[in-house]
């Protein structure tokens, strides 16, 4: 009764008239409110600490076993001799893999680049080499991929870490899944060719050769790109093709472990790192500006949907993958041993929150990916289910509001192109 009377009262008619008359300024005001609200999201009151969803991954119980830093430097020395000789490098890698005891295979591919300006060749061809570590007593139904690209950007130390880990893994007998050590050339095209051949999908323009050896369904991929023997911090790149994100448990475990090993990690460079090109001083990672920059960078990188690193083509096939890029070689850099061991201690540990803002902002956008492929996340319930219904609960789920405000603001056809490009909203 009361509702009906409200709708018919004079006061409501006056309110409706006011709203309709002032819709444009109201729209702009709401839009600006939305932007301000978005900018306030990185603040601690508006988000939650990142956490590992899968209870079986116990980060605190990990124990570092890999201590062979000598083999990393030995491999790095041998790899440094190759320089730009890709073919020689591939042959040497094949021999190294087989000396370690892996099954070695290679794949040829070629691609025609659609529109290339400048003196670059219009077609790209190359050869990828991969070694398969067969797990004992396992039926090869599942596999993990440990990838390190090799190409124009020298990835000497990434390859060295991969080889020494391969040697170490071969001596262990507790593997349940096969591990594929993949070295690709040609950047993302080489990786795309490999994964297309593996999955049996064909992509126009990439002529991917057959794979002589395989393992089972790929569960996760870690891509290493390190070009200096000591690194300052690890940049973990998570965006994939079309803005797909991996299961966030994988990301949280990695950042958590790298913190434990003393290597801070970040999703994107700090503001100082961007301003002073190439000279990365360790950013003050608790700075709000850095968090805001990370949120904005994630949006800016996800929206165009371009692949940033070698892990991106895997995400299209719902395979959780990340790239770990070692950054910085200043005086405070840590040896690669720490990164290597952190990349592969699978159980997680006590973690510091480094980039909570960026992860929580996008947490719900990845619920889709984490619930359909939650190899690490188990039964991930939608966010908020486990929260106590308190004021903090509403704050924690308040990421929706700035977006809602933005949407309302544009209902009146204000700035729709700006809306689309600024918001890397991704529908899986």
């Amino acid at each position: 009764m009361k509702l009906a009377s409200l709708l018919e009262s004079k006061r409501s008619k006056k309110l409706a008239g006011f709203l309709i008359k002032r819709r444009k300024p109201l729209g702009i005001l709401l839009y600006l409110c939305g932007l301000v609200y978005l900018g306030m999201l990185p603040r601690d009151e508006f988000n939650r600490r990142s956490f590992v969803d899968e209870n079986a991954l116990m980060v605190g119980l990990v124990r570092r076993e890999f201590r062979d830093s000598q083999s990393i430097s030995d491999y790095a020395e041998e790899l440094a001799d190759f320089g730009v000789d890709q073919e020689g490098l591939m042959v040497w890698l094949e021999a190294s893999f087989s000396r370690i005891g892996l099954e070695v295979y290679s794949q040829n591919y070629s691609a025609v680049l659609p529109a290339v300006a400048g003196p670059q060749a219009a077609s790209v061809s190359g050869r990828s080499v991969y070694g398969v570590l067969r797990a004992g007593r396992a039926s090869s139904a599942e596999s993990l991929v440990f990838s390190a690209p090799s190409g124009e950007a020298a990835n000497t130390h990434g390859l060295a870490v991969m080889l020494s880990l391969a040697k170490y893994f071969k001596s262990k007998n507790y593997w349940a899944k096969d591990i594929i050590f993949l070295v690709t050339t040609g950047g993302e095209i080489g990786v795309q060719a490999w994964i297309n051949s593996y999955m049996g999908n064909a992509v126009k323009g990439i002529n991917a050769g057959p794979l002589p050896g395989r393992s089972g369904a790929i569960q996760a991929v870690i891509n290493l790109e390190i070009d200096s023997p000591k690194i300052e911090y690890a940049r973990i790149m998570i965006e994939g093709v079309n803005g797909i994100l991996p299961n966030l448990d994988l990301v949280h475990v990695l950042t958590h472990l790298s913190e434990m090993e003393g290597i801070p990690s970040a999703l994107h460079m700090g503001w100082e790192g961007v301003r002073s090109h190439g000279r990365y001083s360790k950013p003050d990672l608790s700075d709000s500006a850095h968090k805001l920059y990370t949120v904005a960078s994630l949006m800016a990188h996800q929206a165009p949907g371009l692949p940033l690193a070698g892990h991106a083509p895997f995400l299209r096939h719902r395979i959780d993958s990340v790239t770990v890029r070692g950054v910085g070689s200043g005086p405070t850099a840590k040896p690669l041993l720490n990164l290597a061991s952190s990349a592969f201690c699978l159980p997680p540990g006590p973690w510091r929150v480094v980039f909570e803002a960026s992860t929580i902002s996008w947490r719900d956008s990845t619920i889709q990916s984490s619930s359909t492929m939650p190899r690490l996340a188990g039964d991930s319930s939608p966010s908020g289910c486990s929260c106590l219904p308190s004021a903090s609960y509403w704050l924690h789920s308040c990421w929706r509001y700035p977006l809602l405000l933005l949407w309302w603001g544009t209902l009146e056809n204000l700035l729709p192109p700006l809306y689309c490009t600024f918001l890397g909203w991704h529908f899986t």
Partner: protein, 571 residues
């Protein structure tokens, strides 16, 4: 012929034994038991050890199935005999395997087995296989402590031609139908010492004497491949098969990692280094207890023994010469003293990792095609490196929730000679596709088949629903006239020309529901009902009428008259 190649070695061994040893008392009802261990270097430096414990009993299988006929079981395990008799089983094959046999590198397996559990059985001619099969599955899962109860009608198959009886055939009717055959495989099954211990209890000497002394679970399970087998078959006791008995063969195949030493080019193994237990005696119940080592040189790499064997010989395994060294345990041990056997070690020098060892002639591999939760495909590659055409039987078994589209079956290079397809029935029966293929020489044939993933009801998902579901290994069965890569055993006299290869099992993920949704729905609906139902019901069903003025009570009127209450009536 492969089955004949061991005759002269066995004859020599038997003569040797009978001249030197006191007569071993045979068990009652003419039972004979032999045990053999066969070890060889594989092409990639690994060491394969195959145990074969075989009991032959001269009771006819049909008599055997009648409880009153058999009075004394002797050394034949009574638990298994009762199971076989009760369910009217003619042939029974059970394998429990950890790992995938890598045919490309290791050659053909002596006892082929897919990863996980595999159980197949032929029932006696008069038996009702439909009724007996579930009971047999339960009995075998109890006998060996395996979770075979997961086998139901949706995962049992009746292959038409791929799994013919291995042993003697008791009735001509069996040749044309497979109504008496049941096959099931569980790739998800894990094997551990809980299966191994009941298996060792079926051995006459157990782990107390003979080759069973080598069994130590830690070393047997710290390997690259481990397969337990139990094979019960009718057995021809003489050449013309005039007399038929039964044979129980318990097999164990283990592949150890390469036994590298401090010198990287020398591989050395000994029984002690592999099994960590000393071998001190031969089983007194066995008429033959041997350890055979293959001393062939692999790619020019010499294999040397530290002890002089009792016998050496060269056998012809279908075109290739194989040098065998046989150590007869009866002669090497003395029953009066308990001196342990002198250690046997085998070393091969100037060894290096090979990049790609010589491949056997027939190879099969299978993988999944496509990603996403709607469509998918199976792709199989069969390689024939022989210079002649080979005819193979290809068997594929796919669960019902991967809906195969048979019109998408495409076969390249090979010719399909005949096809037998059994479509699936939801929740009752799985897909089965059997093809008879003719593979051209020196070719790789590709088979591909597309499927669509169905949605399961939320209660049908297994624990850890996101792991996915397994598709059984595809089976290639063929008869090879030449078999240079076959491994063979001393006591094995079944027809080795039948070769069976298993592909990898496939793990496919199905779209899973959000398992928290039933809880969410219940909460939501209950909240709505509790909060909104009352108000909405009132709003929709209550009608309001103007209230009639009620007559005031007498007392109230009096109080009003005298001025205690206000003059105005209250509304």
């Amino acid at each position: 012929m492969a089955a004949r190649r061991w005759d002269w070695v066995q004859l020599l061994t038997a003569v040797f034994l009978h001249l030197t040893l006191p007569c071993m008392c045979q068990g009652r009802a003419e039972q004979s038991y032999s045990e053999a261990l066969f070890m060889k270097f594989l092409a990639d430096g690994r060491v394969s050890a195959t145990f074969d414990f075989s009991t032959v009993w001269s009771v006819h299988p049909l008599l055997f199935s009648n409880p009153g006929n058999v009075q004394h079981y002797g050394i034949f395990p009574k638990s298994l005999a009762e199971v076989v008799a009760h369910y009217h089983v003619q042939e029974l094959h059970l394998t429990l395997t950890q790992g995938q046999w890598r045919t490309r590198v290791w050659g053909y397996p002596a006892h082929p087995a897919p990863p996980g559990a595999e159980l197949w059985a032929w029932f006696l001619p008069e038996a009702d296989s439909e009724k007996e099969w579930p009971g047999l599955v339960d009995a075998m899962s109890g006998l060996l402590g395996a979770h075979l109860n997961a086998i139901d009608s949706a995962s049992s198959f009746q292959p038409l031609v791929s799994f013919r009886p291995n042993g003697a055939i008791l009735s001509k009717d069996m040749s044309n139908s497979s109504a008496l055959l049941r096959y099931a495989a569980l790739p998800r099954e894990t094997v551990c010492t809980e299966n191994f211990t009941p298996w060792t209890k079926l051995l006459p000497c157990g782990t107390a004497a003979g080759l069973g002394e080598l069994f130590e679970a830690e070393s047997l399970y710290d390997c690259d491949y481990h397969s337990l087998g139990l094979h019960f078959t009718p057995h021809c006791l003489d050449d013309g098969c005039g007399q038929v008995g039964v044979r129980l063969s318990l097999t164990l195949t283990v592949v150890f990692p390469p036994p590298v030493t401090s010198n990287p080019s020398i591989l050395e193994w000994s029984l002690k280094s592999l099994f960590h237990r000393p071998l001190t005696s031969a089983c007194p119940l066995a008429f033959s207890s041997t350890v055979t080592v293959e001393t062939n040189s692999i790619d020019g790499v010499q294999v040397s023994l530290s002890q002089t064997p009792s016998l050496t010989g060269t056998v012809e395994v279908a075109g290739r010469r194989r040098d065998r060294a046989v150590f007869d345990l009866h002669s090497l041990t003395n029953s009066t003293t308990s001196k342990p056997l002198p250690p046997l070690s085998v070393s091969s020098s100037s060894w290096a990792y090979h990049i790609m060892p010589e491949q056997p002639e027939l190879l099969v591999s299978r993988h999944l095609v496509g990603s996403g939760h709607d469509w998918g495909g199976l792709a199989t590659e069969i390689t024939n490196s022989a210079p002649h055409t080979v005819e193979v039987l290809y068997l594929e078994m796919v669960p019902w929730f991967f809906r195969l589209y048979l019109h998408t079956l495409s076969v390249s290079q090979a010719t399909v000679l005949s096809q037998h397809y059994v479509p699936a029935k939801d929740r009752r029966r799985a897909h089965m596709l059997e093809l008879r293929l003719s593979l051209p020489p020196l070719s790789t044939s590709y088979l591909s088949l597309q499927f669509r993933r169905a949605h399961l009801k939320w209660t049908e998902h297994k624990p850890d629903a996101h792991h996915g579901f397994y598709i059984n290994s595809a089976v290639i069965t063929t008869v090879l006239s030449e078999c240079p890569n076959c491994t063979s055993l001393a006591a094995q006299d079944q027809d080795l020309a039948v070769l069976r290869l298993y592909s990898e099992p496939l793990l496919v993920s199905l779209p899973t529901p959000d398992f928290s949704m039933p809880y969410n729905v219940i909460c939501f609906v209950c909240t709505v009902i509790a909060i909104a139902f009352g108000s909405v019901f009132n709003l929709t069903t209550r009608t309001l009428q103007p209230a009639a003025a009620a007559k005031e009570k007498l007392l109230t009127r009096i109080l009003r008259r005298i001025g205690v209450l206000s003059k105005q009536k209250s509304d």
